[in-house]
Amino acid sequence: MSFAFRLMFRDIRSGDLLTLLLALVISVSTVTSIGLFIDRLQLSFEQESANLLAADRLIRSDDIIPAEWEAQANELSLQTAQRTSFTTMMFAGDSLQLSQLSAVSDGYPLKGAYLVDDVLFGAGQRSTETPKQGEVWVSSRLASLLKISLGDQVEVGDAKLKVTKYLVRDPGSSTSAFAISPRAVMNMADLAATNVIIPGSRVRYSLLLAGDRASLDEYENWITPQLNEDQRWQTPTQRGERIGDTIGRAESFLLLAGTLAVVMSGVAMALASARFVKRHLMQVAILKTLGATPKLLGKLFFLQLFALFIVGAMIGLGIGWGMQEIIASLLSGLMSTTLPEPSISRLWLGAATGMISMVVFCLPLMSHLIKISPLSVLQPNTKIELNSFAIYAIGFIGMFGLMCLYTNGFLLPSIMTAAILGIALFVAAIGWLAFKLGRSLTSGATSGWQIGLASLYRRLIPNLFQLLVFTLIIMLTLILIGVKSSLIADWQQQLPEDAPNHYLFNVQDEQIEQINDQTTQLGLKKSDWYPMVRGRVTAVNDETVQSLYPEEKGEPELYERELNLTWSDTLGKGNELVEGDFTAEGLSIEQRVAKEANLDIGDKLTINIGGNIVTLPITSVRTVDWGSMQPNFYLILPKSALEDYPANFVSSLFVDDAQAQSFYRAMATFPTVSILNVGDILKQIQTIIGQLSQAIQLVLFCILSAGALVLLASVRSTLEERLEEGALLRVLGARGALVRQALLVEFGALGFFAGLIATIGAETCLLGLQVFVFNAEASFHPLLWLLGPAIGVVVISTIGIFASRTVLKVPPMLLLRGL
């Protein structure tokens, strides 16, 4: 055994083992860092969402929650709390106000905290306590409407409660509208005394749960069959879906990047192994003549590979851990909480990648090596057949398996594999044509151009293979750059800095002018007012929705619920006409819902608006930019159709932090107007996007390093032949400049073609990825067409010249002797 290690340490000096080790380290560290980082991101997202839910899981019910449900949760060591929410009239002196009231048990919230303040319209401080028995916390708006302040008493049904805090935010409310809604929270112990909940009251009961995942899962399995249709099991991720979407895309990107890193490291490992095997052919034959048995050699190489794996995996895992720490620290401040520590158990993914890479890329080659006949020592030209189908097949299956393991699915690996295969065929065809053309254009060996172009054709197979590797690496790089920039641009476009963050609902016609005055005074930018009525689609082309979907299952969204409808003669901001005429006397429909409901121009919809039936044909189809945060509608009716209906108005506006309190004060004078504040969520998303973008840049950098390594390994794999040729040319009297020029031409041409083909491939793949994986719109990337060939020529010539610099420096005699 120690002999195996001695031999290995001696081998390390030759550099081949180091290349193998480096490939392994890069593979393990990239996979580890990305895997760990995604894990932290998911944990953090879940944690943050749990704060929004006030619990890890929640059961929502329209009926009283059976006591045994809570008992069962406690038996599983889960923490529990209860919340009962209802709408009731609150009284204070002569004032009365319809309010949203929650009664909460002690221990609420299980996750997150209340924001409360002692000052009206204050910003709030965290509090994990609940109102004590006999106390109530009211929102500033409610306090203004009831004309009360701290210490005053309010009446809720038969109970009198003392106001002790102004409520800014309830962790259990899905939006941050709390501060400005007439809301209040009281202790559960006072609920019975109020006598407000009587049979028939509209009450929402919630049982909140928190605890470890296994118990929660066990509880979910137990409870799910018992839930009726008025009861819901809620998880944190169901809330805050927008953040989920953003993080989801970032995850897709990171997964894609990680998969590409796996592919590149795999190629680097395969190349390094092939070179290792080639250089060790004679060593094995000689060792055999010296009496080394195949068994001993098998053990020797297995031990070497195993030691290499242990060392590589340890270094890789260490670097991977460090790298994700760096990524995480770049993202510090993300989601207002510190990122949770990654689970150590996730390290297995990196270690498994290293192990599988070694097994599929190194072992088959090594087993070939051990089989070499000792007779090779007498036949110096023996070459081992490394191009066997089995080796490629094992490598290919291994790589595919790794990608599947990594992405936990088949779609992405399948798209990528198909693309790689397609590219391989394309490269072979184009490369063969181009090299042949280059050869026929030149004859003789008087200039570097002639020698360089001639070499391309002479070493056709290795050059085509190298062209393929270069193409793949450049293509992967371009794909990442393309995905990265379109992803980030898409996000930023989705959420401009001054995107509206407040919605105003239920505004009456006569209030519009006063509100306009207020907002103008405050200098706030507001969208137009849209009239809004609610209506339900009841029939399509005179067939009722009930007859179309008798089971009420699989209904398109358009028919599922009451819709907000508006009417307008002009196309609003963020709307784009796709088909038809917007000004015609008919309906304008949003493209996605039209597609889902299989509707087209000319189809007739019947809509019930407060008992009045309107039937109109579809006359135009629009796309809507939902990210613009403007009020948007699935269906827009012509002005004439709804002009006489009594409508509420809706608008959206951007309010920055400095103006928020004065805006809320001003709006407190319009008690019937509902204000929805989505600003906190938007801000959170914007922070996440900004920081995820940084993380993505870092990951991109890691992948590019892996790419550079593969290029280097690939150039090294044909180095011997180039060295020999360079030495011979110089022995025959060629000047160094000629040899250099020939090498430049050869590598430059390889780089150019690789870059060009890569660009074509990348553009095609980006199209597929954008449409199928990221669910974004397809777009063209002119920058790539410039970058691709440029990267190809510059990077490959540089690496090529760097790797074969010995051709130019070392005296030819020494080279020839060493060969």
Partner: protein
């Protein structure tokens, strides 16, 4: 006292398959080589000398016939067993030296002893390198040594496992006259001092004449050349 038989070959035939059909390289060879004898196998290029050497050393498997090394059947067993026998009885010197380029001179010489698990490998290797006059080149890599020096390292390596039989394939083929002579002297000195059987393939008549016997390989047949 009668010397033991080191190598015994009977009816040795070797056929290879090429794209033009089967080609019989060795046609029913019979021979015997005694312990510590020196034998030269001569013949024109392509006559089958190296093939015979390869088979005798167990580097390849013959098509038919038998080979015995010290009465041990050597032609049929598995590669595994042949390697063990090689490690026990056989040493090699090649025309193109075949030193491992990633190992220093001393490490190359240590290899056979290390393969056997010999703890004194380094000491023995140093002594052998001293014997071939390279004690000042211990830590040099093969590409830092001249051809003659490389072959001397190879000879030191060949004798490192105390082989009973030394096979040499054109040992002076890549060397100039002066270095060639030095190598020949070393080979024969060691052959005599250690009682090793020496089987050598060579084109060099001078070298062949120095051996106890000369066998001529011609068209796959082996004949004894009368001295």
């Amino acid at each position: 006292m009668a010397r033991n038989t080191a190598i015994k070959v009977s009816n040795l035939t070797h056929t290879v398959t090429s794209n033009t059909g089967n080609l019989t390289i060795l046609k029913g060879i019979n021979m015997e080589i005694k312990e510590s004898e020196s034998v030269a196998i001569v013949g024109s290029s392509g006559s089958g000398k190296s093939t015979l050497l390869g088979l005798l050393a167990g580097l390849d498997v013959n098509t038919s016939g038998d080979i015995f090394l010290y009465d041990q059947e050597f032609s049929s067993p598995s590669e595994e067993q042949r390697a063990l026998v090689r490690g026990q009885y056989v040493g090699f010197v090649f025309q193109s030296f075949h030193l491992l380029p990633s190992l220093q001179a001393i490490e190359n010489v240590m290899l056979p002893a290390e393969l056997k698990g010999d703890k004194d490998a380094r000491k023995k290797a140093e002594a052998l390198l001293e014997k071939v006059g390279l004690s000042h080149r211990l830590t040099h890599y093969p590409n830092q040594l001249s051809g003659g020096e490389q072959q001397r390292v190879a000879i030191a390596r060949a004798f490192a496992s105390n082989p009973k039989i030394l096979f040499a394939d054109e040992p002076t083929g890549n060397l100039d006259e002066e270095n060639g002579k030095l190598i020949i002297k070393l080979l024969f000195d060691l052959n005599q001092s250690q009682g090793t059987t020496l089987v050598m393939v060579t084109h060099d008549n001078e070298l062949a004449k120095m051996c106890d016997r000369q066998l001529v390989m011609s068209a796959g047949q082996l004949t004894e050349k009368s001295l």
